[in-house]
Symmetry: C2
């Protein structure tokens, strides 16, 4: 089968899975649910994914790739200083999740299912993402705008923790706020914590 068409169908299944899993939760979503939503037979799923867990992981990896690619552009791009880069990463993180509530639900809730899956995920994508943030912190230290006593990886975890909490809070809140609207307050608070005095 044409590689392009094959890839399209694969994505169609992933999209269907995001939709179903966001609404019912991973364990309550059956493979049949996903198949029906994607307009294929149950068995077809297994032509594209090894099994149900592999499908979940593939969703994570696709999404994480987008995250990381864009974050890398910011980090390696020729934008101004570290402060501005950090602001951009905060904005990126909150926009990407805020644009797609279903994906956000999966990221903030469903991916955390069981230590086993979480470990598998964290070993791959998140580590890389975290490292990108840490690079910005390092850069800020070199530029002298961030405190020199910061451990860059520790600071990256702090940044990620705040973004993660904002996203979870947004997912759980019924209100119709835009997630990205929290970018500036978050950046402001973060920067005043990191800044050299």
């Amino acid at each position: 089968m044409n590689t392009v068409r094959r890839e399209e169908k694969r994505e169609r299944i992933q999209d269907a899975a995001v939709l179903e899993i966001a609404r019912r939760g991973y364990y309550r979503t059956t493979v049949s649910n996903i198949a029906r939503r994607a307009g294929v037979a149950d068995g077809t799923i297994y032509l594209y994914f090894k099994n149900k867990e592999d499908l979940l992981v593939s969703i994570f990896e696709s999404a994480m790739r987008r995250f990381t690619e864009q974050a890398r552009q910011i980090v390696e791009g020729d934008v101004r200083g570290a402060e501005e880069k950090l602001r951009r990463i905060v904005g990126l993180h909150l926009s990407l999740l805020g644009e797609d509530r279903d994906l956000a639900v999966i990221f903030q809730v469903e991916f955390r299912h069981t230590l086993h899956i979480l470990e598998r995920l964290s070993r791959s994508g998140i580590r890389e993402y975290m490292a990108l943030i840490a690079r910005v912190v390092e850069q800020g230290k070199e530029e002298g705008v961030f405190r020199r006593d910061l451990d860059a990886l520790f600071a990256a975890k702090v940044v990620f923790g705040i973004l993660d909490e904002m996203a979870t809070d947004w997912v759980l809140s019924r209100k119709n706020t835009r997630l990205a609207s929290r970018a500036d307050p978050v950046s402001d608070l973060l920067l005043s914590g990191l800044r050299a005095s």
Copy 2:
């Protein structure tokens, strides 16, 4: 049955559940697993809990009650200023989780199972805990040690987000560090972000 003995057995079942669920994950843990570990018959579980989910929620509520009670003592106690109170809350949070890895696994991973459970949990305990942190921030604003432009609830979410990330990171890392050892760096960073200039 003697109320005390009944309560003891209830706790024995909860403890067994914490142990099993931390190791296998909620969905992979069967009621039989928990019963065997607690030394009771499967059916006995249902004399103490409505069903499996109710058991999970009861664990959360018991633990959350301890958290909140101790946090309240700090907030309402006659300790020095808001900065010191915040330091103590950070210390409390990281010690309580750091002392019991199984419970920490359940808090950081297993409780997040499905939006449905998470919503049920967040509506109850966490809101109260968050409000306690927000009170400390308010107090700090009044004392003039924290920036006046802070939204207290927003700041509380930031605090919680950082603590939560530290805990998750610790749970996922194989290393034998003490979680509580991160209390000071976290507090330092937090306070320099919140502090009035």
